[in-house]
Amino acid sequence: MTELFAAASGEVPGISEAVLWAIIVAPLAAFTAITLYLRKLPKVAGYLSIAAIAGSFVLSLITLVDVLGANGGIAIHTHEWFQAGPLEVALGVRIDGLTAVMLVVVSSVSLLVQVYSQGYMEGDPGYGRYYAYMSLFITAMLGLVLADNLFMLFIFWELVGLSSYLLIGFWFHKPSAAAAAKKAFIVTRIGDLGLLAAILLIWTRGGTFAIDQIHDLALAGTLGGTTITLFGLGLFAGAVGKSAQFPLHVWLPDAMEGPTPVSALIHAATMVAAGVYLMARFFPVLEAAPDAREVVGWIGAATVVVGASLALVQTDLKRVLAYSTISQLGYMMLALGVFGYAVAIFHLFTHAFFKALLFLGSGSVNHATNTFDMRRMGGLRTLMPITFWTFLIGTLSLAGVFPLAGFWSKDEILLEAWVNNKGLYTVAAIASFVTALYMFRAIFMTFFGEYKGGEAVDHEDEDSHFHGDPAHPHESSWVMTVPLLILTAGAIAAGWWAWGKEFHHFVEAAVPAEALHKAPDFSYWIAITSSLIAVAGIGTAWAIYHRGLVSSTEIRRIAFPLAALLERKFFLDDLYERAFAVQAFQRGWNRLVEQFDTFAVDGTVNGVGWVGQQSSRVLRHAQTGQVQLYGAGIAAGVFIVAIIVFIANPL
């Protein structure tokens, strides 16, 4: 069944359903082919995977052009999947402005990362497996954004989580990677419980999984305030886990144990944005539930602060970027909390480019120095010019410097916050100072000053497949630098799509018009302040980490309690590990379960055996082996039955 909803201008997307399915199926086919047949041919696996994702990318572009031509009209193609009693589950794809944008973000970044991986993963014994997992991830992510109902969305949501787990633990022989994979999986599962509860709630109360019907239900207000608030909070719980929002953000920094291209694609540009996508997809629910929206905004603000402040004390380049990602995801949630539906997606869109760029840049640095520790880098500016310049542009974009992509999206978030919630604006503005500070701290430590030698290659380590010479770092090969350059173009220009609010009108057509608030007009005042804040952050970083006007150790000494707090990550890991994992689970719950197992489960089983043993001890005396005694028993039995029958039915 196909339903078309015209945009305001009256057009509908004419793209064929087969094209939409092909976008999902292409990487899926690559995954299947690689796992079944190409394990022994890693080179072929790599090329096949890239070809498949290139196909998806081209089809996504065609889709985007088509939906753009229809001014953001909506097309829903849905089919009955199965029916069990009253439960009807559909399998369908939905295409609208939001989906089209997400499709292009996911497939374009995936394609560039896959190409980059050709260089980064070269010589890894798990090369073929890597491409299989990546294809699975891309399938799941594309399915997630195309799904037309919550049930199907949840399936792809979990598949995304699975492939993230597989890729974080890609080097599973490293205990730290295996532990990080487990941590990511378990922590996100806590949030997913909320999402599952929300799905069950909407099914029992609303009787539907379809996205457009849930929109209508939310806006019609027939569900009741509590239900819709709980539904919104349940969805948000899922988003908190997946998008690494406070207090479940702890898994994302550890996820950096995975290969760097994985971090770029999954843990920066796409998967972690799935939570933001989910909240945007169900934006009318937030509109109908102001309490839930308020929670989203403030959790987002807390995440912004936590991420930005922790990024300030990291010495590992990738971890700086990881905390920066957490902080930026917080900005997106904050935007959703202040009615900024289109703005949140806009920031997701620009962030995908510059954050993927920064991650791939850090991977390029790692390829030259064999380390992510910024204290062992320095001076790479002249040695790796392409990496340096692209990284610098990505950083400027992230810091929100005019006229790069990050400026436009961050500025609009600040504007929405200023208009709708001054408290959130203050938090966001202060954090944007810290953003510029920690990013330029990383730039100065990595690319300026003297080169400090990197990490020597350990030739004893069989798992290491490092080829270069860390003592003499050099620029990476073209398969790695070309994706950097393309992403740089995105990090510069992606923001210009918002000119004249074109982007906003396009994605806003995806949700019912009554759910939207009028976006505030561009304000020079906000734009100039946010630029000044960014420049101030950059200047502070320059003063501390480049010129050494103020010694960073001095600052640490003065602000000792704060520095200690940050270095222990607000003690959240300790809290989770000691209080929940050890005390509550190992000591409390596990012991309870153990007692139950010993006494209730084992007791029942042993008791059954004991009763059988005791009764057989008595009954064995009847087993004489005398056939005549058995015969007498039968006769007596028949006699007794006859008497009973006679009593029951007197003649």
Partner: protein, 103 residues
């Protein structure tokens, strides 16, 4: 005048005699004879019901009895052959000695 009850009473008495013999005789041949007695009491009962019934299938009882006699003959042949075989291997046909079923 002989009524159905007379026949049934004789049948029951015969059956009980057969049962007592089958359960109490130590010699396997005696047990077999008791079983034959029980079978014949059943035959008698069937014939009696057939004789006194007025239904459309009054020949059914006779047909049954014919079968029972045939099967009983076959059974007796098999049972006696078994008794001979048991005697050859165990030098006895006293049933209380044949308690191999007991462990």
């Amino acid at each position: 005048m002989l009524t159905l009850e007379h026949f049934l009473t004789v049948g029951v008495l015969l059956f009980c005699l057969g049962l007592v013999i089958a359960l109490s005789k130590r010699n396997a041949i005696g047990v077999l004879m008791g079983i034959e007695l029980m079978l014949n009491s059943v035959n008698l009962t069937l014939i009696a019901f057939s004789r006194f019934s007025t239904g459309p299938a009054e020949i059914a009882g006779h047909a049954f009895v014919a079968f029972v006699i045939t099967v009983a003959a076959a059974e007796a042949a098999v049972a006696l052959a078994l008794a001979v075989a048991v005697y050859r291997s165990r030098q006895t046909v006293e049933v209380d000695q044949l308690d191999l079923l007991r462990s």
